[in-house]
């Protein structure tokens, strides 16, 4: 169910590195955050030194007066530390959230422009989990992990240098005993990134199942299949839990090893140092200083645990996000694409063949059809013969796989998508409404439409009911328009297409959910619109055929006949598709 993504371990880090372009505008802020973190750590380590100074200075000399400046110094250092933490959080709160927002907006923009074929393949839940969970993971890494990685690295280096300065053999002991950390991190990293990728994919699956359960709620209720959905959800949630537990166990093992390292170093230091002191090559004071420093080495090593976990998760998350940025925009403006200002609406299919991506069955083969400006052609064919596929091509929802489609004799792939779609409006077989106001749904393709134009479109589509909704045109239609009746949805979708005054109007079975009377009214009004507009109408009913000047019969992806309704009525194949004569025997066999 999950999208097979899993690229290599190294590619994950490369993906994370690629996202730096989003961070670049905030490079300064990142540096400020880093500086704040370093100075705050330094300030907090200085405070004990003030104590030393107090003991050695004022107290030693019984000088109460000298106590006050020391007090002020400690106070100042304390305030600096707090102030720097505050400053870092402040900068972080702006910069890091901005980075997250930018990636999210870009991701969304990209997704909206990826072709329909991409969305046929990818589950919304998988996409969603990238835009939410994964980006959150990346944000956390940028805000904490990356910063502390540098701070801790510096701390480790400084402490190590001090250790070596104190006594070289002991320094070597510390270095050697902490080195296995690198090997551990490597082993852990590989396993962790593998599982973390799996967890993220499974989070996407869970979101997908949730989405299906929600959008299919009516069917679930109609068949009382709540328990079945519960099972499916449960399986998915359990799989996610098992993988998360694997992650937890791996983390526990790694973190356990990491906490062991500094203490073993300490044991080794006591042994080696103690013997060295006994043999007189080291002073006791130096050993004490050494062990004190060793405590400071503990933090960078232990922190490595969560920093690395965070980094791995961020890297696989970045990989998942980059999969979207890397998906090919198979339908995009060509370089030097033309903008079509005015269009007569002459639409021609020339030897058009079409196969859905990932399928090996041609849905359309060698389709030739020219629709003159103002002409209307109806497409008639059996279920699954390829009508909707044909209707999706002129607006480039999919691209032809062979041949070409021209608008005003220009290959539509040479036009900018924006201008092409301005001229070609489509009504889909299932009306796609959004949970927005009725008005916003109608003016989807023409935000500048005036009130009169809206009224006219509603009139053509016989959608006067919209005024009677509780808040008129401002009423929200509910998710997918499900708070409307089937016919009401369809009429709004029709109004939406009509209002954009296209030069080519593609209607895919636009009146299937309407009663005969309403249908007749719409046909009359639509007939007037189609006088001036080129029309391509997919029809199942003889009544709608009346709107067309010519009819094309589609059989298994091949246009077998084009002509007027009366001409084609001679063909038994055509007559049977539209026929409602129930005495003729059904024709169930339709092998391709």
């Amino acid at each position: 169910m999950s999208k097979p993504g899993g690229r290599s371990f190294a590619s994950a880090y490369r993906s994370l590195w690629r996202l730096r372009s989003f961070v670049r505008p905030y490079n300064r802020q990142m540096l400020v955050m880093l500086a704040c973190a370093v100075i705050a750590v330094a300030a907090s380590t200085l405070i004990p030194l003030v104590l030393e100074a107090v003991v050695n200075g004022p107290i030693h000399h019984h000088n109460r007066g000298a106590l006050v400046p020391m007090f002020l110094l400690a106070l100042a250092l304390g305030m600096v530390e707090a102030g720097l933490i505050a400053a870092r959080r402040r900068v972080q709160s702006v910069a890091i959230q901005m980075v997250e927002r930018e990636i999210r907006n870009d991701l969304y923009a990209r997704l909206q422009r990826l072709p329909v074929a991409f969305h046929d393949e990818w589950q919304t839940g998988q996409l969603l989990s990238r835009a939410t969970t994964d980006l959150g993971t990346i944000r956390r890494f940028l805000g904490f992990g990356a910063i502390y990685f540098v701070v801790d690295g510096m701390q480790y280096a400084v402490v190590m240098a001090l250790l070596f300065a104190t006594y070289v053999p002991l320094g070597a002991v510390a270095l050697v005993t902490t080195l296995p950390v690198i090997w551990m991190a490597k082993r852990f990293g590989a396993g962790y990134s593998h599982i973390s990728r799996r967890v993220q994919d499974q989070q996407g699956d869970l979101a997908t199942i949730t989405e299906e359960a929600a959008t299919g709620m009516r069917v679930v209720k109609a068949f009382g299949r709540g328990p079945l959905m519960q099972d499916r959800f449960g399986v998915s949630a359990r799989t996610l839990r098992s993988s998360s537990l694997e992650l937890v166990r791996l983390r526990a093992r790694f973190w356990g090893w990491l906490t062991l390292v500094p203490n073993i170093t300490m044991a080794a230091a006591v042994l080696v140092g103690g013997i060295a002191v006994a043999q007189g090559s080291l002073s006791v004071g130096a050993l004490v200083a050494f062990t004190t420093l060793l405590v400071l080495l503990q933090f960078p090593i232990i922190d490595l645990g969560w920093i690395l976990s965070m980094a791995q998760q961020a890297a696989t998350a970045a990989d998942r996000v980059c999969e979207i940025f890397d998906a090919t925009m198979s339908i995009d403006d060509r370089p030097g694409a033309l903008t079509l200002g005015q269009s007569t609406g002459r639409l021609a299919f020339e030897h058009v063949g079409f196969t859905f991506p990932g399928s090996d069955r041609a849905v359309l083969r060698d389709v030739n059809l020219t629709i003159e400006p103002g002409e209307t052609v109806a497409i008639v064919g059996l279920t699954g013969s390829g009508k909707s596929s044909l209707a999706a091509l002129p607006a480039r929802l999919y691209d032809v796989t062979s041949g070409r489609i021209t608008l005003d004799d220009i290959d539509i792939r040479d036009l900018t998508i924006e201008s092409l779609r301005r001229h070609v409006a489509v009504v889909f077989e299932d009306p796609t409404l959004f949970s927005m106001s009725v008005r916003e749904n109608i003016v989807l393709g023409r935000p500048d439409a005036t009130g009169d134009e809206i009224a006219e479109a509603l009139d053509i589509a016989q959608a006067g009911f919209a005024y009677d909704l509780p808040w008129g045109l401002d009423t929200r239609v509910g998710e997918q328009g499900l708070a409307l009746s089937g016919g009401q949805r369809q009429r709004l979708a029709l109004a939406r297409a009509v209002i954009s005054r296209p030069s080519v109007l593609v209607l895919d079975d636009p009146l299937s959910a309407l009663d005969v009377n309403t249908e007749a009214l719409i046909e009359e009004a639509l007939g007037r619109v189609l006088q001036k507009t080129t029309g391509l109408i997919v029809v199942h009913r003889p009544s709608t055929v009346a709107l067309a000047d010519r009819v094309a019969l589609l059989q298994d992806g091949v246009l077998v006949a084009v002509g007027t309704h009366h001409e084609l009525m001679e063909l038994p194949a055509y007559a049977s598709v539209l026929s409602v004569d129930f005495t003729s025997p059904p024709e169930p066999s339709r092998t391709p």
């Binding site: 004990p48 003991v55 107290i59 400690a74 304390g78 530390e81 707090a82 505050a86 959080r89 972080q92 969304y108 909206q112 072709p115 969305h119 969970t133 979101a207 997908t208 949730t210 989405e211 359960a213 709620m217 069917v219 959905m229 449960g234 998360s244 937890v248 526990a252 062991l260 203490n263 073993i264 300490m266 006591v270 042994l271 103690g274 006994a278 004490v288 062990t291 064919g381 059996l382 779609r421 409006a425 489509v426 949970s435 106001s437 009911f465 509780p470 401002d474 009423t475 998710e479 499900l482 009746s485 089937g486 954009s500 009663d515 005969v516 009377n517 249908e519 049977s576 026929s579 339709r590």
Partner: protein, 610 residues
């Protein structure tokens, strides 16, 4: 959040109580606390065990500095006299402590992780189950996006809490209590100075709790809005493309995503005050101890050593507190998630089903349906049905026709118990629908909805949805009856072919056929078909028709159709107009009588055929 004027596109809907009035906070907090308690309770033992693990691990860790001191004092003394036993023993002890500490820490990390995952799993299933129980009316205003937000991103914040820093909480509490006691024992007056730092901390924490609760609540809502917009526009991607909606959507999404950013920034900034606030209080107290302690040492009222220990201990007192602030932050984030979930769990199912419904008659249901005096409104004050009466004897096939928006689907939905009538009753064989449990209701009624929904998966999976226990033969024979087999072989893997996301690899007619096969397989006493063959071509419709004739022979059926060809197999036609039955009778008689609604509809339809 953005102003209302920029959100006009969203339109108006009745139910919008996103912002919680402030006097609710108490109730919300109580409800949230109850939920957290109820999910944690089953894991009480595990929680105690992992707490012990981390405490012991901590003790082992604290023993190490002591052993190091011992090594320096005793070990070296021995080694000077070539007695290496003490130093070896002490090194060994350090190693043992280190091992113990690491081992128990690992136990703690995996233990707390496991408890966290269990809690998440159980809560997830509980919330999902509740979503399933909630009525359609609820889901219609709640929206898919928010349901997804609840089940994914809210849990994210809970997961974070379990992954980040539960041990800091335990550790910090331990050191604060331990060190606090030591401080008081070491020197009472100075100890009291230290503890006085708690007074500002208390107020600071109260302030933080109040503000961050609000901030995180906004975060959850903002995230849900982002998810709603995201899922909706991707589901409607065809319309987005065809109508060049992307730029406007970018704007809208940008606004919502900015809303989330602003909310997150706010919570970041709150912690950005709270955390350094604690550090500041700690540092000021340290400085004060230095001054006051130094003063007293100079005055000879205190030992230098005591002052040194004091200042060293103070670090271990306030630093953990600062760490707790970060844990508290993730706790607050999780609490906001819990609060949302508690809210969902608190929702009334609306159309409640009894756990054990009325017993079904011995021979199974016959399928006599009555609507008596039913009133129904989706929105208060706009009745779709009023005083609606209908009697369908068992075994009858009824066609429901009428203008679009007349209320046909509404009648069907009431019969399938998607909603309960506002007034009146719907019964099957005399049993009110609300007396049936889920299992019996499904045996009683199944419906092909006007919008045929196909799940991701195979064709067979989708058909089997009607009856999950069906054998392969049963699935195939249901499929064959409605003509699914006429196209499955074109799909590569036959019945095991993947239909793609929401059935995107099928044509509209093919989707309807699958939905029909699903209903045939379900084999209910009452079958409802709401525009179930509207996208089929005529020959296919004829095939379905003849299949229906067999299937509906001894079954109650309600068929809604605009194409009157579908109606021809009905025993009885009901014409619905604005929620009222205006005509009722066998189709033949209504046609013969001539002048009625059905006759004129039929005439118009006949005319449309040529």
């Amino acid at each position: 959040m953005s102003s209302t004027s920029t959100q006009a596109w969203r339109g108006i809907a009745a139910e919008e109580v996103e912002e919680v009035p402030s006097d609710w906070t108490g109730l919300l907090r109580r409800r949230t606390r109850r939920l957290i308690g109820s999910v944690a309770r089953p894991h009480k033992r595990a929680i105690v065990l992992i707490t012990i693990a981390i405490v012991v691990s901590n003790l082992a860790a604290t023993a190490i500095p002591y052993l190091v001191g011992l090594g320096i004092d005793r070990g070296i003394a021995g080694a000077r006299h070539h007695d290496y036993v003490p130093i070896a023993v002490i090194t060994g002890l350090i190693a043992i402590c280190a091992l113990l500490q690491a081992l128990l820490y690992r136990v703690f990390v995996s233990g707390s992780g496991r408890v966290g995952q269990e809690i998440i799993l159980q809560l997830r299933e509980r919330v999902f189950a509740h979503f399933q129980r909630l009525s359609l009316a609820f889901h219609e205003h709640y929206t898919t996006g928010r349901m997804i937000a609840r089940l994914t991103s809210d849990f994210e914040s809970i997961n974070d809490m379990f992954n980040l820093g539960l041990d800091t909480l335990v550790n910090s509490v331990l050191s604060v209590v331990g060190v606090g006691t030591i401080l008081l024992v070491l020197d009472l007056p100075l100890g009291l100075v230290c503890l006085s730092g708690f007074v500002p901390l208390y107020f600071l924490s109260r302030w933080y709790q109040r503000e961050s609760t609000k901030a995180y609540r906004v975060t959850r809502n903002a995230m849900a809005q982002v998810i709603v917009q995201f899922t909706e526009s991707l589901r409607g991607i065809r319309a987005v493309h065809a109508f060049r909606r992307a730029p406007r959507n970018d704007e809208i999404f940008g606004e919502l995503s900015e809303g989330y950013r602003a909310a997150m920034s706010r919570s970041f900034q709150l912690l950005g005050i709270y955390w350094p606030g604690i550090v500041l209080v700690g540092n000021i107290t340290t400085a004060a101890v230095l001054l006051y302690g130094g003063w007293r040492v100079i005055g000879g009222e205190m030992e230098v050593g005591v002052l040194t220990s004091f200042v060293l201990y103070l670090r271990r007192f306030f630093e953990p507190l600062a760490e707790v602030s970060q844990f508290y932050d993730s706790f607050q984030a999780a609490a906001a998630g819990f609060e949302k979930l508690a809210g969902v769990l608190d929702e009334d199912p609306g159309v409640p089903m009894p756990a054990h419904g009325a017993p079904l008659p011995a021979g199974g249901l016959k399928g006599a349906v009555t609507f008596s005096n039913v009133r129904f409104a989706y929105r208060e004050g706009a009745n779709v049905l009023a005083g609606f009466d209908l009697d369908i004897p068992a075994g009858q096939t009824v066609a429901l026709v009428g203008e679009t928006g007349a209320g046909k689907s509404t009648v069907a939905r009431l019969l399938a118990r998607f909603y309960d009538p506002t007034e009146g009753k719907v019964t099957i064989d005399g049993i009110p629908l609300e007396a049936l449990d889920q299992h019996s209701l499904r045996r009683a009624v199944a419906m092909v909805t006007q919008e045929s929904f196909i799940f991701s998966g195979t064709i067979a999976d989708n058909i089997a949805f009607g009856s999950p226990d069906a054998s392969e033969e049963q699935i195939i024979s249901a499929a064959r009856a409605v003509g699914v087999d006429s196209f499955v072989h074109t799909l590569g893997d036959g019945y095991e072919s993947d239909v793609g996301k929401s059935g995107s690899r099928l044509s509209a007619g093919q989707r309807q056929l699958v939905a029909l096969a699903r209903a045939f397989l379900a084999d209910p006493a009452v079958l409802i078909l709401d525009e179930a063959s509207s996208s089929l071509d005529a020959p296919m419709e004829r095939l379905v028709q003849s299949a229906l004739r067999t299937v509906l022979a001894d079954r109650t059926a309600v068929i809604i159709a605009h194409r009157l060809s579908t109606v021809e197999i009905a025993d009885r036609v009901l014409v619905l107009d604005s929620g009222h039955i205006v005509e009722d009778g066998p189709p033949g008689r209504l046609l013969a009588e001539g002048r009625g609604h059905y006759a004129s509809l039929h005439a118009a339809w006949r005319d449309s055929l040529v």
